[in-house]
Symmetry: D3
Subunit: 229 residues, 6 copies
């Protein structure tokens, strides 16, 4: 059975936009080191970043029909999250589809498969995080689902979840945790700013975090010459 779940609600769009400036690495830490997609998902060009609300698409291998179906269920501020039901490196998405989804408010794409028209997508400034680049096309023969929970690159993503992506990769923040994670991210970013300043002055992490005692207790020794066995 294939379904499209209409999902008009985007309660966390503002939070997504607030989060993006702090970056994937910081949000991932602030969220207790969860929600990070597999490291194989990389941006198609450097320097892009996006934060938005997930419209999820479950697609068959080498078949992008359901992305076309998903377009009319997108809103301003969305990020498409596309997961094949079995591994596929096909090029599901190119500049035509990017033109279409952008016209419906989509800010970017995260796909655990291939992408094509890299040069044109770069010119358009439409950011994509994909597993590979491939000019291989797809067919439109088999159904899938829109706005159901999907596992994308090792992470469960539910429709409406917050997705943030940058040069470090992609992190998903479950809707129920949106506010808590934003708060923790702000706190962490503030602490990082202070640490950065102290590091710039030459202070050591060992001293800032008072680690010398614990290191000694674990048995670290300082010597003037490498020990011979």
């Amino acid at each position: 059975m294939s379904v499209v779940v209409r999902n008009e609600h985007r309660p966390h769009r503002a939070t997504a936009e607030a989060l993006v400036q702090y970056g994937v690495a910081t949000i991932h830490e602030a969220q207790g080191r969860s929600g990070l997609l597999a490291a194989g998902i990389r941006p198609i060009y450097p320097g892009a970043s996006v934060g938005g609300t997930a419209v999820t698409v479950s697609v068959p291998p080498a078949d992008n029909w359901m992305i076309h179906v998903a377009v009319e269920h997108c809103q301003d501020g969305d990020v498409l999250v596309v997961a094949p039901t079995s591994p596929s490196d096909a090029g599901y998405f190119g500049d035509l589809l990017a033109t279409s989804v952008r016209a419906h408010g989509v800010r970017g794409l995260v796909i655990d498969a291939g992408c094509r028209d890299i040069a044109e997508l770069t010119r358009m400034g439409f950011p994509v995080w994909s597993r590979c680049v491939s000019a291989t096309g797809t067919v439109k023969e088999t159904l899938g689902d829109v706005n159901v929970p999907v596992v994308c690159a090792g992470q469960l993503v539910e429709p409406g979840d917050i997705v943030v992506a940058d040069d470090d990769g992609v992190v998903v923040v479950p809707q129920g945790r949106a506010e808590k994670v934003l708060e923790a991210t702000l706190a962490r970013a503030e602490k990082e700013a202070e640490t950065r300043e102290r590091y710039q002055r030459g202070e050591l992490g060992l001293d800032l975090n008072d680690m010398r005692g614990r290191l000694a207790q674990k048995g670290l020794r300082y010597v003037d010459e490498a020990p011979t066995d």
Copy 2:
């Protein structure tokens, strides 16, 4: 037996130059989804594109002697296509060889092996599509062939075939199909331009391609809440 086949004929150079502006993905589609090299062959710097006629080189693993042999059989508008007879990640090609082949008219290199001197090749604007970057050198000990049919990254390439490469990868167009593929590419590009415009206005692929009936017939359902099993 190792041979160099002298091949003076380049009947498809103009077609190659006409094709390159339409891009690898479009040509691949126009050609009936054939001729695409394996997706692991990537450009050494972003934004490059090239279209030309193939001079093929079959090389032993970690031995680039035959590339030197090939140089004097190159003409203006050629693209070198180099395939090792068994897998090799060695750096067969660098800025010196690039200087040499460019002086003989070569526009770019496609190699199912490694490349080096990336910074210098980028400065020169000499485009290379390779399987990896590696500073590892090669020897000059064992013969191979020039201008024989080779399998490069999973595709059969014959000398004189058209090779087009860009950020999406590399596609080969057999000589006998050059005119037909150019025609199909132009037709496809025109259709894509029209589609792009309609997508920009917000029209949906579902409507442009009249897919709603077929989707319903295959069993797609629209619901307001995700079904529980």
Copy 3:
């Protein structure tokens, strides 16, 4: 037993700085094709290059504590070389640590593991060569060693060795060979400059290196049509 070896001596800093302009590929050749790290170690942004003296850090999987320990043993002109004792793709290093090590004179990082904060490191211009990009963090629970010999991406690196890295990868020059390698590099670079000029004029490698006789002797034949079997 975990140790930090204090190592104040940097006799080869000037040599490292002299070498970097000739590039990894040339140095690797000049050194008799040894010392190259595995090709999987790639720069996080294109165009960077660095030459310096190695401070080595042996770290447990997914634990970056010892990098913090290493900072106070760094000097101006150093390159950190970090090798996990078992494979790890975790993001050991980001912009905060970069700020800290730069304040202590470190010019760049080579790590056989993951790196994060790519956008910020790019803005800072702090070059990193890593096996992958990953936002995954690390813990600070288990000791390792600083300034002991390590195997990093397949190469033995000793503290104080010269490390040169650019778009082609990373090469290590053992301290005892520093002067000899610099000399050989200069000689090679000079010869390459001459070769480049002759290639630019269209001369062939076959003639420059007088290879025609040896090719004929090995059995190379020139034909006008491809042989049929």
Copy 4:
């Protein structure tokens, strides 16, 4: 926050045991082609198969402490499903842990990480499906969770779900679908038995499934010689 969810209930143990004889491929088809773990998860020795109820364990990279915690929450007929929170190839599990979990009724292990003591586990006949073999050990420093939903090799697994594994890989059947999937599996197996018999007699799939008309309609042609382009 780290939790162990006590979960005494195993309503689907009998179904798991009934399913295993039909094999992963058939169950996966019967379930509508869902629930298959990534193909990289392979048995450590050929010929093993297991069906049981999942006890899930979420573990930090290179840290197997939580597997020890999970043991006392296992029952006869369970299969351990272990997923690291970030990728790790460490050897989390060997013959000692196998002895311990077997004493508590566990029938096998599925782990998206490494396993060791392969020779001894083979002798014991304790089946493991893992991503790799690695003698690398793990530490016991950081907490995780037991009996929470995990994503293991790309599939969501909830505690109590049915897990079936054999030479083809691993499939998970959500608890709520257990009976329906068993029914569909039996039906499919029956149909496969009949097909097998007809195939043995030389009947063709084309005729059994009445495909000739559809093939012709899609444009398939039978020729006596390969077309030249």
Copy 5:
């Protein structure tokens, strides 16, 4: 355009059967080191070997319809060679199809994609060489070709070519070279038998092949202690 080329002729079946006993490695050498499929193609169980005449099948990604089409064009002594037009890890082939093709004389399968029902295929003794094992199924939606030239795992295979496969991999012998390669294989095998006997008696390759002079001339030195740099 999709075609099935009827091909009744199998002039090289006896040669294929004669070759198999000498093994892939020896045949590959005897053929001048050509024709070897990529090393990623591995047998699904150890100890199998097969030699036969190729029926080639070009298939779309994740679609095995054309294998069903191919069955009625198989004869006793054939080996199926299946190549997807773009990379696919799907499980195209299992015990049902094996039953069907065996009933039509097929001796084994070589496929640059996935295979399933490993346990049952092992029990049947039906040998398969595949790129991976995957329980993922395929659809029957898109056409391909039967008995056209295909590139399979990097090698061009034409219908009727000889295919030999064993634990070392898969080698293809073009029809036109069948007799010459058999002859060269017999000669090589004879020479290997003699070498084996002399090696067993302790004779050295250096002496058998009179290599000491050439080694000395290239600069090999024998020393009693490792040189320090």
Copy 6:
């Protein structure tokens, strides 16, 4: 400069033979988790194990000449350790070389490259640990070294070091640590035997190692239902 270092001394042969029965995983732990080769090095058939003294061979890519040179420097109880100077998947070693090295006392081979003649090596019972299986041959054109320190699959191996290999992989024990490591291995094996017995009786690791307090202190909670966020 290429050298063969004559090395008649094998002080640690008996220790190597004593160690092998305890297995790679236990030795690796006893040695403080060092010396393990990369996990990609796998046995060519299951169930093999070997312990011996290293004769090291540094070889060029796709060139096995130096293995022939090494044979006459082998003694009873040796294990050949072969490391290419740059990555190569070629099949450096087959049944002929195995016959030769066995006649000179060699017990097995560890090679960070390819191996061939798998079926015959299995019949001979000559164990090989390699990175891949490949029928691709090698040339005899370029020199390397025998009995110099090499980095093999990420580990430094010196001639005379102890090498132990089994289904779990390969571990190297430096000569200077031979006795200490044997002692630690015996102690560890004894402790493991006791632990195994207690695990068999159903005792928990948590109790054996008194972990409950530390778990509670780190914040582990036991609950009856999964927490909702």
